[in-house]
Amino acid sequence: MEPLLRIEKLTKVFRQGRHVLRAVDDLSFEINPGETVGLVGESSCGKTTTARCIMGLDKPTSGRIWFDGLDLTALSRRDMRRQRRWLQMVFQDPDASLNPRFTVRRIVTDPLRLVTMEGRGDHERRLQATMERVGIPPAFLSRYPHQLSGGQKQRVGIARAIIINPKFVALDEPTSSLDMSIRIHVLSLLKQLQEELGITYLLISHDLSSVRSLSERVLVMYLGRLVEAGPVEAVFDRPYHPYTRALMSAIPVPEPGLNRKRIVLPGEPPDPFNVPPGCAFCERCAEAAAYCHREPVQLREVQPGHLVACHLGSE
């Protein structure tokens, strides 16, 4: 199957005076049509920057982003705007991502400018159908964002992303600002939309529980690099990389008396402006050997479709 999205050696460097921050470093992955891929990692690991590069909100320093056979990085601004028809995004903070002065109707219909061939009647029909899909009653169309609850705001954000039937939607922490009991509803909605509309998702989240329930494959990032990738069950249940293992064990499970062994990582991620030359994780890794600090790591396949970037266990 031809992947819908192929990221090739994506690198994004930010400069601050003499300091260089490699937010995303040599990242490659593919997403097949209709699939949900989770992109997980802790803050400032580069997961949001990756999404912003795909969406054309940030310009990659190097690397290519192939979407449906088209290299997005080579497009002019105008051609990119035409491609936005197929790529949309749901943002993290529903308070900041909805314009406070616009009504729900105006917010949701904003992307319709990308489908210019249609008339007013078609737009109205799309709007009604979309609002019904996301479960927002029509009476809310004339409300302003501050009159909505958190879950409703995020539903409006989702409605805006799907109203033009995109092929791909980047979900940037879609549930992190919501109450626990609302999260599952929003995830269920996303799942249902995918089944109905055949959308492909990139789910970016630090909430691994959400990723586990919604995605089929998962990518784990640490300081701009991919450390592990594979099917969800494989990565969550049999993680290879010491970082993934610690990450999984650090998340509390709501079942008392389970007695999981928690690996508490020492220290904090190193200064992203000053990443060690070898494995980025070596300073916090309990199993790190001397060469981990020197030798750069490459991804290798440990199981079909399960990739790990770790010196341990490699020849």
Partner: protein, 296 residues
């Protein structure tokens, strides 16, 4: 206090009527009510005066020179026998429109230039900001004086001169607001929705930057009235015999010494009340919006 904010957030979601909101606002901010009351009273008095005291503000009458306040001339007459109340009322038709036009021009220019500087950044931003620095280095009143002196005495020059002296403030305000707003996610969302950069800046961003600018505009109305009258008092810009508040004050000054105090006192008091009214309103609006921003 986030805990408090959370509960209040739940409450504020309930749709509330505009009327009950305004009543509440006035009760919490008596200053705002006082300012509005002064302005309304002033404008209605002056409007009524034109109907009830129908003297020609420009034609003198040698039989009523320098009469103190009386039934026929509630605020007295000046050295040409003209009714002072009529002249003040007529002056309102000049001073208030000038103030509003000046501020409107300053706001428009300030918003357009400030938003452009803040949104594009880089060289444009630097040039604009240094230019405003230079303008701000002059006291605004002196700047306006020089400009009128160069451009000549007329109402449009006064408007332009005062507007230009106000513009730097608005540029800075608008730029600052745009700088903080453009980092918010709705700007990225607008980009994803296919808005051009131009649309994002002026249609999505700018309306969210308006509040502090409009509040500052209200304060500027007060200063504009003072500036127009001040220039006229010094004999620059609007000159006699045009009935303008500053002109009226300056005409009366020499009579005050000889005991005919009403000639300049009443126009002066009018200027004071108008400026005070706008100042009170502007000040309390600033308080209210600052408080809203802190989420209270």
């Amino acid at each position: 206090m986030e805990a408090v904010g959370e509960v209040e957030g739940l409450l504020s979601r309930a749709p509330e009527s505009r009327l009950s909101r305004s009543v509440l606002l006035l009760r919490r901010h008596p200053q705002l009510g006082a300012g509005l009351a002064i302005l309304v009273a002033l404008v209605t008095t002056l409007a009524l005066a034109q109907v009830l005291v129908p003297y020609d503000p420009l034609r003198g009458d040698s039989s009523t020179v320098l009469e103190p306040p009386s039934q026929a001339h509630p605020l007295g007459t000046d050295s040409f026998g003209r009714d002072i109340l009529s002249r003040i009322a007529q002056g309102a038709w000049l001073d208030l429109p000038i103030a509003f036009t000046t501020v409107a021009i300053a706001i428009t220019l300030g918003l357009l230039i400030g938003a452009l500087a803040g949104y594009t950044g880089g060289l444009v931003d630097m040039v604009v900001m240094r230019a405003t620095d230079i303008l701000m280095a002059f006291p605004s009143f002196i700047l306006a004086m020089v400009m009128v002196a160069v451009l000549g005495n007329s109402v449009p020059t006064v408007v332009i001169a005062i507007a230009v002296s106000f513009v730097p403030d608005f540029i800075r305000l608008a730029r600052g607001e745009v700088l903080s707003e453009r980092e918010l996610e709705y700007v990225d969302a607008a980009r994803c929705a296919g808005n051009s950069e131009w649309r994002i800046m002026y249609i999505q961003l700018l309306p969210n930057c308006l509040t502090p600018v409009l509040v500052h505009g209200t304060l500027c109305l007060a200063w504009a009235i003072l500036d127009v009258a001040g220039l006229a008092f010094l004999g620059i810009g609007i000159t006699p015999p045009t009935p303008e508040w500053g002109v009226l004050v300056s005409e009366g000054v020499r009579h005050t010494i000889s005991g005919d105090w009403w000639v300049s006192l009443f126009p002066g008091a009018t200027i004071l009340l108008a400026a005070l009214g706008f100042n009170l309103v502007g000040d309390s609006l600033r308080d209210i919006t600052a408080r809203e921003e802190r989420g209270q």
